[in-house]
Amino acid sequence: MTPPPIRDVVIVGGGTAGWMAAAALSRLIANGVTRITLVESEEIGIVGVGEATIPPIRQFNEVLGIDEREFLKATQGSYKLGIEFVDWTRPGHRYIHPFGPFGADMNAVKFHQYWLKLHRLGKATDFAEYNLCATAAYQNRFGAIAAQYRSPLTQLHWAYHFDASLYARFLRRYSEARGVTRQEGKIIQVHQRSEDGFIASVELESGQRIEGELFIDCSGFRGLLIEQTLKAGYEDWTHWLPCDRAVAVPCAHGEGEFTPYTRSTAREAGWQWRIPLQHRIGNGYVYSSQFISDDEAASTLMANLDGEALADPRPLRFVTGRRKKAWVKNCIALGLASGFLEPLESTSIHLIQSGIARLLALFPDSGFSNVEIDEYNRLTDQQIAAIRDFIILHYHANERAGSPLWDSCRHMDIPETLARKLALFRNRGRLFRYEDELFAESSWYAVLLGQNVMPQGHDPLADAAPVEDAAAALEEVRAMVRGAAASMPLHADFINQHCRASTAA
């Protein structure tokens, strides 16, 4: 006998995570049985400060049937081709982690292996010049490529910057139109079933109780259901990812270009983000409170803005790490409630999205079998650990000698999985993507080479082609990429023409 399907899904919290979940789950309503209620309170703010994303967000929107330009208009959004890292390797140095591949494999040998070989011989230029997104980003371009430059080498990959609170509002309209019920109110108590501790209902200030069979905790850092009620536990990763505070402020666009990329600048005690939206620029300083005071951090941030600050700086506190179990009993945590990796590689929204996809792939019935819960938690752990390793790499592979935070990161013990990856790469530039890993090999190459992790040698198979042939092939890639990038419109023009938000928000 199969337990009956879930009738009531209750989403707690209406930030980016809550409304993304509501929008994606709204398709369940079509079965004629399931109801979805989202509880949020206008009194509780959301943490969204201007978000940067990675390319899979496009699939999320596509599955929902959202038109890209409508979405960018509604969220003051812009295009993103990658992230520029300034001063990370050492002061005065910069590199870009672009989306999409570098060149293309030749004779079954990875492109970067030829680059490693030729670069050492002085016959190759900067690695970024072989990647279309990087080249276009540095020219502040985005849009269609002229016909003569279209080839498999010039496939553009992109994501977005947008105002997360506007995105939540946009998805709210979408969800409500598809039958999701929004319930205004502050939760004052959570009721559990006496027999098994499952969550039975949440009680609002008004005394109203919202009952449900499946609860999705999108309440943010505090984890109202998953932690405060169900005590899932939290694994602290501060020893690997030392930052524990941030201060954020929006500013006006200054004289600078409207960049189609995020910028991350290393600072004494952390790093500063710069996320260009249509109507303003989102900025923030992520730092370790061990190495700088809050006031100092705020004044450093305020001294490093493109234009006039548009609000008072807002402080945030967090502990990097993950919820030990993202799914406990009948509650699944999404977003900050499930853990926090810092925003360095724009993975927060992606983690929400992949949590939702996993939930859909393993959607329970009212019997809540452990098989599905265990599988969900196993996949979640695997994914977050892989992303964690990638982010740790940025901190670990630095040459910023004499700066206490950076010195300690350079010398810290890193996870075994990352140590293995680094050993393989340092040896001969080799890299293997592990199961279910989010970041593709090209992302690892970009950051490894960007942060000057130079392999001792290259793949011997790259020696099979004569040097001149390989050099000519690399030059061909570079010319193609350069031509394609130059043929694209300016990012600012493209936005103005196609996706300009009608009113300043």
């Binding site: 369940l28 859909l360 599988e375 199961e435 011997p460």
Partner: protein
């Protein structure tokens, strides 16, 4: 800085040895690397004594492409036939089920095809998945055509592997490897000498000759002359309890070959038939407690040979400067169809990890990691059949007694709950193939994916009927398998 190893010596020829020789010769000869193969000739021992024929997965064609080989040439050299899937008979008493290659039906968003059928009330106990698959229908009707490259065409949903005679296929690979610059050495490697650092320095031949090299590849089959004989790397056994013997034979047979490998469970074991062009290869895996060798030979007829059956794998096939391949590294159960796959993927993976002449530690670790994942999936795919069959004979009750690996236990629990299949990147089989295997073994999930309930029933039923109709009507219009084979081999049987 040192380059690639100067001399790679492959101990043993056969399909495993010559596939490896071909791959490395193509990639490393231009760098001046010397590649020698000490091939004793005679029967191919590289994939195990009982592997007289290979029944491959569709991936064999990608492997051929990567190695610069031609599928049709390989078939001509090895009395090859096309393979559209597997058929299992008697694993549930009185039952027969086809596991088709290629696409079966079509997913709708995240809802897999078998989940759609189960939503419509289909029961794994009598679900004929092959009726929704072009490969399945074509196999049933004795028809075949290569898939269309146009993804919009229904003909593109068909996929196929090959049946190949091991000996002829090995010869074909040998010719290609020699042409690519590998050097043959007559004789059999018996052992090796080791240096003070534990690395091998020279292979020792049966006649006492010593062959120095930088990297040694052990393709000596179950003998494992180097990896076990010299380095003592332990063997992890996977045998299902009781099934301890295997008999194998190839007989001449002019019947038009079925485009399926047949696995037939019988009271004291099971029989595998891989049809070749003008011949038939058969294996019998049985329990020595319930059947003696003479009876097994009588069953297979001809000149069947019998040996001990001990499937399993080597703990670290790449140890020091010795890399074991073929049966010296892993002997998969025939049910997993993995012999050819593992031989080719070992060679292609090595090319991604060619070590320094004096290095190899980090490369070996990565190689062994992927090897474990790959062979683990082969182990689990076969174990699934042994664990879920429902026969009541003593042999089969005993075979069910094994514990599944933790990964397989997870797989089975997820499937049994709601028909779900976990993704695994380094495994050999895709999600659809796992689902088809569960269904062929008649394992019924407690329920289907709740997301399937969001699909409107009438429209879904109509869609599935259309797919069934499309598969049947398209298959009927394909050429006969026998005619296609005659065209390949240039002669009608």
């Amino acid at each position: 800085m040192s380059g690639a190893p100067g001399h790679i010596l492959i101990a043993g020829g056969g399909v495993a040895g010559w596939t490896f020789a071909l791959a490395v010769a193509r990639a490393l000869r231009p760098l001046g690397v010397q590649i020698s193969v000490a091939d004793p000739g005679g029967a191919d021992e590289s994939l195990g004594a009982h592997a007289l024929a290979l029944s491959t997965l569709p991936g064999v064609r990608d492997h051929h492409h990567a190695l610069g080989l031609d599928d049709l040439d390989a078939m001509r050299a090895a009395r090859g036939s096309f393979k559209l899937g597997e058929i299992y008979t008697g694993w549930t008493p009185g039952d027969a089920a086809i596991l088709p290659f290629g696409e079966t039906g079509a997913d709708i968003g995240p809802v897999r095809f078998h989940q759609q059928l189960m939503r419509l009330g289909a029961h794994a106990g009598d679900l004929d998945l092959a009726a929704f698959s072009l490969a399945g229908e074509a196999a049933r009707l004795g028809r075949f055509a290569p898939p269309s490259p146009d993804p919009a065409s229904f003909l593109s949903t068909l996929d196929y592997g090959l049946h190949l005679e091991t000996e002829g296929y090995g010869q074909y690979l040998r010719t290609a490897a020699l042409k690519a610059g590998a050097q043959p050495i007559d004789g059999r490697v018996a052992s090796a000498e080791r240096g003070g650092d534990g690395r091998l320095t020279a292979a020792v031949m049966e006649d006492g000759r010593k062959l120095p090299a930088d990297l040694f590849v052990d393709a000596t089959g179950e003998r494992a002359a180097l990896i076990s004989g010299v380095l003592g790397a332990p063997w992890e056994s996977w045998a299902a309890p009781g099934l301890d013997r295997i008999a194998a034979v190839i007989t001449e047979d002019n019947a038009p070959p079925l485009a399926l490998t047949r696995n037939e469970a019988m009271s004291a074991g099971w029989r595998r038939d891989a049809p070749l062009y003008g011949a038939a290869a058969a294996q019998l895996i049985f329990s020595s407690r319930d059947m003696d060798d003479a009876a097994a030979i009588r069953q297979l007829g001809g000149t069947a040979s019998v040996s001990a059956f001990n499937p399993g794998r080597r703990a670290a096939p790449w140890s020091a400067n010795c890399l074991a391949i073929g049966a010296a590294a892993c002997l998969p159960d025939p049910l997993s169809c993995a012999e050819q796959h593992l031989a080719a993927s070992a060679a292609l993976r090595f090319l991604k990890l060619v070590p320094h002449s004096d290095g190899g530690v980090v490369e070996a670790r990565e190689y062994n990691r992927v090897f474990e994942a790959e062979t683990g999936s082969a182990r689990d795919f076969a174990a699934l059949c042994y664990l879920t069959q429902t026969r009541q004979d003593k042999t089969w009750k005993t075979a069910r007694r094994a514990d599944p690996s933790p990964e397989l236990a997870r797989h089975m629990a997820l499937y049994k709950a709601r028909g779900r299949i976990p993704r695994s990147e380094d495994g050999i089989y895709d999600e659809a193939m796992w689902a088809a295997a569960f269904i062929a073994m008649r394992v019924q999930p407690r329920d289907h994916d709740p997301l399937a309930n969001g699909l409107a029933e009438a429209a879904l039923r109509q869609r599935c009927e259309q797919i069934r109709h499309l598969a049947a009507s398209t298959a009927r219009r394909l050429p006969e398998h026998a005619a296609m084979l005659a065209q390949v081999h240039g002669a009608r049987l």
